[in-house]
Symmetry: C2
């Protein structure tokens, strides 16, 4: 096993967006700083979407202005933001965002409800978006998400062939990495084999990421299987922030603490200091006035009492 | 992979013993019945220990009397109980218990605090206990636990050599299965390799069980690795009942729901109906007036709302 693993932190965006209560810009900036100090190298921290539709992401331009002005120092870490369309791209470029993520899914119904397009339409939009960026001479890095790869809240089962087709098309557009997601947390390790083996063959380990949700407790087991297959980028959320809007009460993203504890135990290096990460998540939990769901964080917290 | 997995349910003993509040005998009997109806085949449901030391297990003889009288019908399931010494054995035999579990650990300090003996003393006691049983002509089945195999709350690291020595000695006493436990939930999959590979070589898959705690979120990942190595008996607790008395606030045993969901996904047969199991755990949760920690159960519960 190559011993470096890239932990792609999605807490400040995917996590906080799905939390019941909004948090202030000040708290977000504090949280991102604390994550960077803990050694996080890749952070998804906002989305250039319509503020009336997703009010929790309305402060994304301000986060980027804080980066540009030097008020938010990311060290060497990379900031990422979701960009759904060309309009979003223009907003992103305006405030200096250069690492953007586009998102579609493997099931039609979810894509329609989530972004109001068919899968094909979303891919066409991304193609235009990328052409736009090139036309403007903007050097951007693009990541693509494929949601509902393990199952859809509306359609149920999703075939592997379907997932791979979307993965292939995103890759053909030139995205540097495709993150394949178990959006509703129904996946089990044999599904990880079925999806990631061919995805790794298609794209190679540098261009594939796994995005697991812990809704049914299987996120870390799925992450383990993905690592065994050679996946070397895993998405996770500090404290286990976030849930799925379609499954109220359910836990959301794989918790970064649980993942880093696993990686440390496997001798895989993420560069993240687990204690510093726990302190950041606990302080955020205090500011949010709610406990977070990471098992490791709960044990850490109990040992601090 | 042989496709049958024996799920050894420890909720009614290991789980309930470590719950903050006691539950009534009536609720215990109801719970055991519900588990059996859900397809559970092996249940640890009590301990023949001093009632003044472990008041929550004081009703164990009554549970066995309910079995003997036919008031508690286990179908074909096997009832197990902990027996720490010859005195406990006499109590067990008196009420018709035939499947007993003896328990020691891989670290001296834990063994001393937990059962007031050294490891060697505990093994000598078990040897006398087994001789006693034979002398009485009692046909008993014996299971042995090795606690703190992945780490000790008092001594920290525990060497693999030490674990294997205790495993070997228990096996030499003639126990039919040795359950190797991550009592404080610190284990990660490479430790599972280090401990279970040689244990399987020594005893074969029939005689080895894995007992994982989810304190740091790794229980299911460890269970997956154990299954990959060929382990075919796993201990778990319905709903994730129980915690570790030394880590207040921390989650305890691997939840049976999470395990069965994993097994179903892997195409491994446990004979347990996941929906029936969830209903049993949810009803227990209602009677106990506290939420249980199983992730799968939480998702199941949310989908029922």
């Amino acid at each position: 096993m190559a011993d470096r693993v890239r932990v792609f932190e999605v807490g400040p965006r995917d996590g906080l967006q799905n939390e019941p209560r909004p948090i202030s810009l000040e708290d977000k900036l504090w949280f991102v700083r604390a994550l960077v100090r803990a050694g996080v190298k890749e952070l998804e921290l906002g989305a250039f979407v319509r503020a009336d539709r997703v009010p929790k992401m309305a402060d994304t331009p301000q986060i980027y202005r804080a980066i540009t002005s030097g008020a938010l120092d990311l060290g060497g870490a990379r900031a990422w933001a979701l960009v759904p369309n060309r309009r979003g791209l223009r907003s992103a470029l305006r405030v200096g965002a250069r690492n953007i993520a586009v998102f579609t899914a493997a099931s039609e119904k979810f894509t329609r409800r989530n972004i109001g397009m068919t899968i094909s339409e979303s891919l066409r939009e991304f193609s235009r978006l990328l052409a736009d960026a090139r036309a403007r001479g903007a050097e951007i890095h693009v990541r693509g998400y494929v949601s509902t790869a393990f199952g859809c809240p509306f359609e149920g089962k999703v075939s592997v062939g379907r997932v791979l087709k979307v993965v292939e098309k995103l890759a053909a557009l030139g995205v540097e990495q495709v993150s394949i997601g178990d959006t509703i947390g129904v996946g089990t390790p044999n599904q990880v084999d079925a999806i990631f083996k061919p995805a790794l063959e298609l794209l190679g380990p540098e261009r594939v990421a796994g995005h697991f949700h812990d809704t049914r407790g299987t996120a870390l087991a799925n992450a383990l299987r993905a690592l065994e297959l050679g996946v070397r980028t895993l998405d996770s959320s500090a404290g286990g922030l976030g849930g799925c809007p379609f499954a109220p009460g359910a836990t959301g993203n794989l918790a970064t603490e649980d993942l880093v504890y696993l990686l440390d135990g496997l001798g895989l290096r993420s560069g993240i200091d687990l204690t510093a990460l726990c302190r950041a998540s606990l302080e955020l939990s205090r500011r949010m006035e709610r406990p977070l769901t990471s098992r490791y964080l709960q044990a850490f917290s109990a040992s601090c009492d």
